[in-house]
């Protein structure tokens, strides 16, 4: 079958042979292999985001009984590609009273925070760039740079909407980070490891999925993750009726595109982490492992899109109250129950 790990092993060996033939040491072999892997994932991420944007538009259109983009290509399938080219050509307007350095670096920080996660996600059997022994904690840590990025964007724009959107967004993301991390701890209590690959390895059979042993944890993770990526019903930071476009109000052209890219990367990331922690990752019968991973993850992404067009937006006080007064105590309770079960049985 289409097992990509063999292909990757082959390419890796070819690179090693080539680099060694050039007379460079083993450090260089690793470096070149990693660069190729990272470039591949950048390509994958870009193509995937193009697909996700198209899917979002089509899903929303069909939920609202419209047809969505139809003109560019068959059923508008090239629409987002055309949009990307358009964004590339757009004039980049930098308002005159922004803080230029921070304004410039904010989209970079946001994108890198979203992209760096992909180094540890197991896309399939053997399809992981690096298996850190602190994998899931690394993901939690590196994604906090996303908050820094949006605070930088909000502050440097020198615009009231940007600032308010940025700070509201930051307050929301950090509030929901606590229950999310606690839900992850619930899983870690069972896995006894933080390595993403080992967590997947423990869920080979359907009945071993951690969602069965951590149903409350999964629900908490799902809600918190939806809030983390600012999706409806938690999309207050970009509540366009109140805040224009939130922290990206002053951004245009390629800089805006980077925020957009990061947003969709994050959406894929939370679905991928959910798949890895709760739904057995790439484990599955018949089909190749990476295909199972994509199916499960994209199903998660679809649910996020579906929710966006089904639920209304929460008020900001409901949002914060929900995180601190309901999700956090529930997550603590989940940990206590899990611990009790593990200790007693």
């Amino acid at each position: 079958m289409l097992e990509l790990d063999k292909l990757i092993g082959f390419v890796g060996a070819q690179i090693a042979a080539l680099v060694t033939a050039l007379g460079l040491g083993p450090d260089w072999v690793t470096l070149v292999q990693l660069v190729v892997a990272a470039l591949t994932l950048i390509g994958f991420a870009s193509v995937m985001v193009l697909g996700l944007v198209y899917a979002e538009r089509k899903v929303s259109a069909h939920i609202q009984m419209r047809v969505g983009p139809m003109r560019v290509g068959w059923h508008g399938i090239l629409q987002t590609l055309a949009d990307a080219v358009k964004l590339l050509q757009k004039e980049d307007i930098t308002p005159s009273n922004v803080d230029r350095a921070i304004y410039f670096w904010a989209p970079i920080v946001t994108f890198v925070a979203a992209f760096a996660v992909y180094a540890v996600i197991p896309f399939g059997r053997g399809l992981v760039v690096t298996d850190l022994n602190i994998g899931i904690l690394y993901i939690l840590a590196i994604t906090t740079f996303g908050v820094i990025g949006l605070l930088m964007a909000g502050w440097s724009s020198n615009n009231k909407y940007s600032l308010l959107g940025g700070f509201r967004s930051a307050a929301q993301v950090v509030s929901y980070e606590v229950p999310m991390a606690l839900a992850v701890i619930g899983v870690v209590m069972l896995t006894q490891t933080l390595s993403m690959v080992q967590i997947v390895g423990q869920q080979e059979k359907f009945y071993q999925w951690y969602v069965w042993r951590q149903p409350i944890g999964f629900l908490i993770y799902f809600v918190a993750a939806t809030a983390e990526v600012n999706r409806t019903p938690f999309d207050l930071p970009e509540a366009d009726s109140e805040l224009v476009a939130g922290f990206v109000t002053e951004y245009s052209g390629m800089k805006f595109a980077m925020f957009f890219l990061a947003e969709f990367l994050n959406m894929f990331t939370v679905a991928a982490i959910g798949t890895t922690l709760f739904f057995g990752g790439w484990n599955g019968p018949v089909l190749p492992s990476w295909m199972w991973f994509l199916i499960k993850t994209l199903a998660g992404v679809f649910v996020l899109m579906w929710m966006r067009w089904t639920y209304p937006r929460l008020r900001v006080d409901q949002l914060m109250g929900f995180a601190w007064k309901f999700l956090l105590p529930l997550a603590i309770l989940n940990i206590l129950i899990t611990g009790l079960f593990v200790v007693l049985f």
Partner: protein
Amino acid sequence: MDTITLVFFALALLIITSALFVVTSKNIFHSAIFLIMALFGAAGMFVMLEAPFLAAAQVLIYVGAIAILMIFAVMLTARIADESIIHTNEQVPAGLAIALGLLAVILYGLWNTPLTIHGGTPPSGGGHKLGELFLTTFVLPFEVVSVLLLAALVGALIIARRDPGATPRPNDQSAEQTGA
């Protein structure tokens, strides 16, 4: 130069330049950003020192929480954009002298101290060893951390809480109030 040396000096350069900018930058928001870079560099150093769990903890707490809290505090205390304010006091020469003197003393001490280095394989990261130590040898400090955090939380809330008589307007959705 081998890779380890190269990475060490790159990280050291990142940490030191960022730290210098933290203490000299005119704009306090820029200081906060440079502080984040210095802290991230320190996390890189922890990775070099075979403490990956601590590196992640460092990023999670310092960058993800303390730095964000500082940026919020910067926002709450206005006038940051005004670069004309003098950001250093008249103690610059004295401060410089003290800092350099301290540095000289420490480096002198470091130079003249024979450092005993013990070999051994570090536990394979992942935080298992840390967890064991927390729950066995260091169990009392571990519980005291909890008390400390509680005290800090309650204390900070008491201090930072807004004036009771000042606002509560139930339908006030606008999150900004014009400063003085």
